[in-house]
């Protein structure tokens, strides 16, 4: 696997902030950011359900495997040199349900969180 395509929500301040943070991290697997449901995304993945990608973060590997929501977050973490161990820890059977709950909670309230943190929308 040489790169991951991250379909992110360009409307949300929190996501843009996360994007900036990710850009600074050293990576074991390159991350390629594409706004979700954009022309570029539709052109690259003609058969993907793009309505789903607007609801939650989506990661697609270079060979076409799709990860939605909390799994997508874990994949992004896994791509980072400093946090690969954490990705495995959070994906362990004991922690995975909690990880999923916390990530979904943040994801579903991303606009409120962005507003509360003063990050435009």
């Amino acid at each position: 696997m040489s790169y991951l395509t991250v379909l992110y929500d360009p409307e949300c301040g929190l996501c843009k902030r996360a994007h900036a943070w990710l850009a600074d991290q050293s990576k074991l697997v390159e991350l390629n950011f594409v706004p979700c449901a954009s022309d570029e995304a539709r052109q690259r993945y003609p058969q993907l359900n793009h309505d789903l990608t607007t609801k939650d973060l989506t990661v697609v590997t270079d060979d076409g495997w799709v990860y939605f929501g909390p799994k997508a977050w874990l994949m992004v973490l896994w791509a980072l040199a400093r946090y690969r161990d954490w990705a495995y820890r959070l994906a362990a059977p004991e922690l995975l349900p909690t990880t999923k709950r916390v990530v979904s909670l943040i994801s579903q309230n991303r606009y409120q969180i962005s507003r509360a943190a003063g990050l435009a929308k």
Partner: protein
């Protein structure tokens, strides 16, 4: 030279020779594992290998030194051999334990290095990728 002193000297000679032999075996054969763990980075593998062997020597010589004292007076050759068998036997067990511990560390490092290429979770779906023109 009394029989007591010769017992100590023979004990030291056997223990030191055994420790050096095991450490060299570990050094020679552990290298392949470490090169694999560090994805062919031989300089790093050699460095870690050397550091492991130093630790191995320190622990074993430390044990040999601490276990030297007999606590009773050896008067006959028979007593000397019996004392040696107990002391050398313990050194062998400690060396064996350390050796397996090292093997365990090597294999764990190797397994870890090999599984870190697998994604932490399985995918949800598959989608064909349109290659850019």
């Amino acid at each position: 030279m009394t029989i007591g002193i010769s017992t100590y000297l023979i004990y030291l000679a056997i223990s030191i020779a055994l420790t050096i032999w095991v450490a060299r075996t570990l050094h020679k054969n552990g290298r392949v594992f470490l090169v694999d763990v560090f994805h062919g980075n031989e300089a790093l593998a050699d460095s870690v290998n050397h550091l492991l062997v130093v630790g191995f020597y320190l622990i074993n010589f430390g044990y040999v030194s601490l276990a030297l004292k007999l606590g009773y007076i050896v008067e006959t050759a028979e007593q000397s051999i019996e004392a040696l068998s107990v002391k050398v036997g313990l050194v062998l067990l400690v060396l064996g334990g350390m050796h397996f511990f090292n093997l365990f560390i090597f294999s764990r490092m190797r397994r870890r290095a090999n599984t870190r290429h697998q994604p932490p979770v399985g995918p949800d779906a598959f989608t064909p990728v349109q290659q850019e023109a």
